[in-house]
């Protein structure tokens, strides 16, 4: 029995999943793309408000501290004068070497932090959402019409590349579907999109005349803008994850079925990959390939471990992805 008898198991799972997802997010980071967008956004604002408050308090306290230090030094000086001690002319604070040193160190640390963060982020393009030659909506295809991802990205379970489908795959359906009748489509800027005109762009590329129902000229490939790019020194294999690992497309690509225009959901950094490899279980019992890992099988039998993560079968070693 739980304390909330009104919640079904499914709801609890959803809450847990939500909590896990929120925890994996960097604090204060933009949180779009999440299913519960509004609430998450509110949460982010809350934490943002708090840190602003803390920042202001810190700043005020720092100013107070500096003023107090100034007062202290002035009082000391007055006391010394009163007692008739010789005292060196005080150095103004902007010439005080200690202050300058502290400032430089602070500047170095803060500047260094941001420089390094910036450098690490070089070449990463989370949330990248370029304009594509055709306004192709994954939401319409994968969401509303429930087309399986692998229908178009058929080599995701065969090859390292998921493959952008060739135009002949589009034409399997679009020979019959020549106009868009679904809900209104909008670009990210809020501009309305004419779905039928976008389908016509496909026909133009592939050389199809919808009225005559035949190909009238040789096809031209569509030059899609690549969104997910890994560096050359990374070997990534889709089939490894989709076919062997049984990972859902959405794990890395986000709620693609809700995206009109696709953006890069994950930052595709090495830390992001490794984190997943540390926490994801392999199909240890189901896949006979893993039968050779005798010790791990024994450990499961003995109850020492419950699951086998990718890391435990060597999935975080350098040469699993870099060669």
């Amino acid at each position: 029995m739980t304390a909330f008898p009104g919640l079904k198991d499914e709801d609890i799972d959803n809450i847990l999943a939500y909590v896990a997802q929120e925890q994996s997010k960097p604090a204060g980071g933009a949180a779009q793309g999440a299913a519960a967008g509004a609430e998450a956004g509110a949460g982010a604002q809350d934490s943002g408000g708090n840190s602003l408050l803390f920042g202001i308090i810190t700043l005020i306290l720092a100013i107070v501290a500096v003023i107090l230090m100034q007062i202290n030094s002035n009082l000391n000086k007055l006391a010394a004068e009163k007692e008739g001690h010789e005292h060196a002319e005080p150095v103004p604070f902007y010439k005080n070497k200690a202050y300058i040193a502290i400032c430089i160190i602070l500047l170095f640390v803060v500047g260094g932090y941001f420089t390094i963060q910036g450098a690490i982020g070089l070449g990463r393009q989370q949330d990248y959402m370029p304009e594509q030659p055709i306004f192709y909506s994954h939401k319409v295809h994968a969401g509303i019409n429930q087309i399986n991802c692998l229908y178009c990205h058929s080599s995701a379970e065969k090859s390292k590349h998921a493959m952008i489908p060739s135009e002949n795959v589009c034409m399997n359906c679009h020979k019959a579907i020549t106009e868009y009748t679904g809900p209104d489509l909008f670009t990210a800027e809020g501009k309305k999109v004419n779905g039928t005109a976008e389908i016509q762009k496909l026909f133009d590329h592939v050389g199809w005349d919808p009225n005559a129902q035949r190909y009238t000229k040789p096809g031209q490939p569509i030059e899609w803008v690549k969104i997910h790019s890994l560096p050359d020194h990374v070997y990534f294999n889709h089939s490894q994850h989709v076919a062997a690992g049984k990972v859902q497309c959405q794990t890395c690509h986000g709620e693609i079925q809700n995206m009109d225009e696709v953006h890069q959901f994950a930052d595709l950094s090495m830390g992001w990959c490794i984190n997943c490899h540390r926490t994801t279980n392999v199909q240890f019992a189901e896949n006979n390939y893993y039968s050779i890992f005798e010790k791990l099988h024994n450990d499961i039998k003995d109850g020492k471990i419950k699951d086998v993560t990718v890391e435990m079968v060597g999935g975080t070693e350098c040469q699993k992805c870099h060669y």
Binding site: H161, Y289, K295
Partner: protein, 1031 residues
């Protein structure tokens, strides 16, 4: 037991001062930029340094923080069903260049051939390859290939290809050619063609032009054998040899493991009898008689040298010793005489189980060899006359006749296909003069080579990876060639041209298909054939002999009256990688070190140390340390060449040996790798009225005083005398199999388990897979097929000669060649050396950034992008297998100034050969053998996707797959059913050793000790006595 001393060169044998110095400074290297005096001596170098630092940081920041480039992802319009991007397709094909017959499987990625493997369905080669076969995939992307058909404008039009050849369309060209050759007798000049359908087509084409003929000309000819076989057995053909049936192999200068006829086939057969079964140890015995040091000679159990002029005498003496009823000329050399007697004795003791082969191109010598084989019962046991080989068909006198006819003006039209006599004919000038008197000359060659430059019309043929074809290596053994890529350039199959000019409108592809469907019966059978790549008869047919009817007395008389040699003699040979020079413009092959000399990128005059001493009095034994070699002027039969002197221990003291295949024409025409490299040795060939002689009996060598650097890898990577090789004799091994490894017993001193007890480090667990490799020194012949295969598979950089001189070569796998014993008649051992993937790797401990570390599968991993290039690991590697990228060899960097281009390896066209699954390493990173981790990952993934454990043999390294003799076994040691487990724990425990095992690096690669089938070694005699006392 006293360790037998192994040496890579004389400098190591004598441990000279310069050798010590070189070993000490192996890793010392000056910074690779020019030292600027003004910078270092400036008054404020520190400020300058800061300025430069600031500038470069700012520049790098600006360069790096620019917008991320927008990348496009462009799918197919209509995806071919059998292409999945990222998944390789394999097509069967065959290497049939110049008569060699090696059925292949070609790996293509996204429509680009990137790797070649042997076709294991072939009974002839069984998946074996050679260095040259492995490298042909790079030949496809050769920048110097002709890109369009055209008409030659003449030699006075400058040195640019586009100025010399005017492009024509095929239609226009066909019109002009048809008009030019109409009604004239045509001569087709080609190297050996083993395609039956092409031959049929040639016949049809020549029939259209009455009086026409086909002349076959081989640059390195075997016509002596063909004619001798005709005289002995009535067949102008080569038999098929079966080295696997021979208990005794006697080679009279035939380099059958390196260059003789079809080395992939013979290496495999010969290797079968060099493997040792520990339960019943036996192996073939190999006698070798030669003038220079060949790869095959280096692998012989007993090797003897003679002068080239004595070749016939040696054959005759052997026949005489076997009771052949002939008298041989006197042989003065006592050692040689003894060797012949020994060989004769061994042959007699193994009648019916012997094979004698000869590399001589002299008819009389080959008749004697036939007589020996006949006496020894080889016909029908090791020589099969029912199935003949088509590997070489050229008849030298036909060629000589053709050149005479050309000069007489009686040749109407000359079509040159795959032959290059203007370069490799001994009297190239006469050929060049003759071609001017020929009505119309047409070349089908792939580049603007020496002969094509003289021809009027140029109709470049496809590369074989772009074309259709078939090949009949042995009678009834067919392999098929199919395109693996659409033609890169405006080239046309040679056969299409012939079809077009003989008025046949059938496409060549259809012609071939129709021909074979008629033979096979159906389209399905043809499809199956293309898939398999071979049609070969069922194995098990008995070998057939032939009745010998040669005129032994006549041949013996001619040999006895042959000209005696002068003070020095000269012999020509083919290098294993370069061959006759046709495929010389291949940077992989040029950079492959010669198995014997370990030299790259050049040819040179090989002489013995005795001869060399007369030229290098001032240098002594330090000569070999320095890349700069003395240049000799070598004169024979009125021809002079200047070549650097290289000392080759084991060469006959009165002989100079020079490799053919070098001294090609201009770089702009031949290619950047082969053009203007070395000197052409073909002019030393002579025509004796019947056949070409590849030796000169009278030669002189004199000093020029000049020096010339040679890129030798011999002195790189010194082991500083540490024992790394184990060998014994067969006799010894049978008597006491544990003896060869008896020093391993000392390891017991550390405790019961050397692995665990001899170290403070924790033991690595290997929960799933533990990769391991075993290399059999008995079946490694040093042919370097694995070296090229490794380069192809792993995008290993080509560095060029200047960088080889600086010891910057990048080969992940090298084959060390060690001499031992007598300096003049040394024994040779080849040891492939690659990353040993130590379980206690010394490199891992010293990396400051943990870029190299250990995997749970026992792989010593190298993360290139983590590497900051300190080179500590290379310094600490006892096997010297780590390679540092001093430059950007493969175009990995975006900074153009970093590029180092050798042989157009950075050209966009050449880069198509790169394996997309392996990253190209940038400048400043360390690299080394990865055990072909991309192949291992691929095999694991296939098993995972199928939900089953991995099978043994599914994951194979490139070197293992390329090896003709199966010297390399690789697999999962944790799998008790794997071959590698059985080799280590059941089959070969007595011979198994690890290099530098006592240092407790725990390598993942073991070697199997070499066993020689020879009498107790004379050098070992002393050590032997000691050994007995010791026990």
């Amino acid at each position: 037991m006293e360790q037998k001393k192994y040496w890579k060169g004389l400098e190591e044998l004598h441990n000279t001062a310069a050798h010590k110095e070189a070993v000490k400074n192996e890793f010392r290297e000056d910074l690779p930029f020019e030292e600027s005096e003004s910078l270092l001596n400036a008054t404020t170098p520190r400020r300058d340094f800061l300025k430069y630092l600031g500038f470069t940081t700012a520049a790098a920041t600006i360069a790096a923080s620019c917008d991320i480039p927008v990348k496009k992802a462009i799918p197919y319009v209509n995806k071919p069903q059998d292409i999945t991007p990222g998944v390789p397709n394999y097509y069967a094909s065959a290497y049939a260049v110049d008569g060699e017959y090696v059925p292949l499987v070609v790996k293509t990625r996204e429509g680009r051939p990137i790797k070649i493997e042997g076709n294991e369905m072939s009974a002839v080669t069984g998946g074996a390859t050679t260095a040259r076969v492995q490298a042909t995939v790079l030949g496809l992307y050769d920048v110097a290939r002709l890109r369009y058909p055209g008409i030659n404008k003449g030699a006075d039009k400058g040195d640019k290809l586009e100025d010399r050849v005017q492009e024509l369309t095929f239609a226009e060209l066909d019109k002009q050619v048809a008009a030019a050759i109409a009604g004239k007798p045509v001569v087709l000049l080609s190297s050996t063609i083993i395609s039956p359908t092409t031959k049929k087509l040639i016949g049809e084409f020549l029939a259209k032009y009455p009086g026409s003929r086909h002349v076959t000309y081989d640059a390195v000819s075997y016509s002596g054998m063909l004619l001798a076989n005709e005289a002995s057995y009535g067949k102008r053909a080569l038999p098929s040899y079966h080295f696997e049936n021979a208990k005794v192999v006697v080679s009279l200068g035939a380099d059958f493991l390196g260059t003789w006829l079809n080395p992939a086939e013979y290496s495999r057969q010969y290797g079968a009898n060099r493997k040792i079964n520990a339960k019943n140890p036996e192996m073939s015995k190999h006698f070798h008689f030669e003038s220079m040091m060949s790869l095959t000679g280096a692998n012989a159990d007993e090797r003897y040298t003679h002068r080239p002029s004595e070749t016939g005498a040696v054959a005759l003496a052997l026949l005489a010793a076997l009771g052949g009823g002939v008298t041989a000329p006197v042989i003065a050399d006592a050692r040689l005489k003894e060797g012949i007697a020994k060989a004769a004795k061994a042959i007699q003791a193994n009648n019916g189980k012997t094979l004698v082969v000869s590399g001589s191109n002299d008819v009389n010598v080959q008749i004697i060899v036939n007589a020996i084989n006949n006496l020894a019962g080889a016909n029908g046991t090791t020589i099969d006359w029912a199935v003949t080989s088509n590997y070489r068909q050229g008849i030298d006198s036909d060629m000589a006749q053709l050149v005479n006819d050309m000069n007489a003006g009686s040749v109407g039209a000359l079509l040159v296909y795959g032959a290059n006599p203007a370069y490799d004919y001994f009297d190239a000038k006469k050929f060049a003069d003759g071609i001017k008197k020929v009505g119309t000359s047409i070349s089908f060659n792939d580049r603007y080579d020496e002969t094509t430059q003289l021809c009027k019309y140029i109709v470049p043929d496809h590369h074989f990876l772009e074309s259709w074809g078939d090949a009949e290596g042995r009678t009834g053994y067919y392999a098929f060639i199919q395109p693996t890529i659409a033609p890169l350039f405006k080239t046309r199959a040679f056969q299409s041209s012939l079809l077009s000019w003989s008025g046949n409108t059938t496409a060549w592809e259809d012609y071939l298909k129709n021909e074979w469907i008629a033979k096979l019966g159906s389209q399905e059978a043809w499809d199956k054939t293309l898939q398999d790549g071979v049609i070969e008869p069922q194995a098990g047919a008995a070998l057939t002999g032939a009745a010998f009817a040669g005129d032994v007395a006549g041949a013996a008389a001619k040999i006895s009256s042959a000209k005696k040699g002068g003070k020095m003699e000269l012999v020509l040979y083919e290098k294993v990688a370069i061959g006759n020079g046709k495929e010389a413009n291949n940077p992989w092959l040029q950079e492959t070190p010669d198995p014997i000399t370990r030299a790259t990128w050049d040819n040179y005059a090989c002489v013995s140390n005795t001869v060399a001493k007369t030229f290098r009095t001032e240098l002594g034994d330090d000569y070999e340390i320095h890349a700069e070699k003395q240049v000799l002027k070598i004169t024979a039969k009125g021809v002079t060449v200047e070549l650097p002197l290289l000392i080759v221990p084991g060469i006959h003291p009165d002989v100079i040996a020079i490799a053919v295949g070098y001294g090609r024409g201009k770089k702009a025409f031949i290619g950047k790798a082969a053009g203007e490299v070395g000197a052409n040795a073909y002019p030393f060939v002579s025509f004796n009225g019947q056949t070409f002689d590849y030796f000169v009996t009278e030669a002189t060598a004199e000093k020029t005083g000049r020096q010339y650097p040679v890129g030798l890898t011999q002195t790189h990577n010194s082991y500083e005398g540490r024992p790394i090789i184990k060998e014994t004799t067969l006799e010894e091994f049978i008597k006491n199999p544990k003896e060869v490894n008896h020093d391993r017993e000392h390891l017991a001193h550390y405790g019961e388990d050397f692995r665990k007890d001899a170290t403070l480090y924790p033991n690595h667990p290997y929960p799933g897979i533990k990769w391991g490799m075993s290399i059999d020194l008995n079946t490694c012949f040093g042919c370097a097929a694995c070296v090229v295969a490794c380069s192809a598979e792993n995008n290993v950089g080509v560095v060029g000669k200047e960088q080889v001189v600086l010891a910057h070569e990048m080969h992940w796998l090298r084959i060390d060649r060690y001499f031992s014993g007598d300096e003049n008649n040394p024994e040779v051992v080849f040891q492939p050396m690659l990353c040993q993937h130590c379980d206690n790797a010394p490199c891992e401990n010293v990396c400051p950034v943990a870029a190299t570390n250990h995997s749970s599968e026992g792989i010593n991993q190298m993360a290139y992008n983590r590497c900051i290039g300190t080179r500590y690991c290379a310094n600490n590697c006892p096997y010297k297998v780590r390679r540092f990228n001093w430059r950007d060899w493969n175009g990995a960097d975006s900074f153009e100034g970093n590029l180092h281009d050798t042989g157009d390896m950075n050209d966009a066209l050449t880069r198509m050969v790169l394996n997309p699954d392996v990253v190209v390493r940038s400048r400043g990173t360390m690299e080394k053998c990865s055990f072909c981790v991309q192949r291992l990952q691929d095999a694991k993934l296939a098993a995972k996707k199928a939900g089953r454990p991995m099978k043994d043999g599914e994951a194979r390294t490139a070197c293992q797959q390329a090896c003709a003799a199966d010297a390399i076994v690789f697999g999962n040691i944790n799998d008790k059913d794997s071959r590698i487990y059985k080799v280590r724990n059941e089959e070969q425990q007595d011979r198994l050793f690890y290099v530098l095992e006592e240092t407790h690096t725990l390598p993942s690669i073991n070697y199997l000790a070499k066993i020689r089938n020879k009498d107790a070694a004379p050098v070992a005699a002393g050590a032997h006595g000691e050994e007995k006392a010791h026990h």
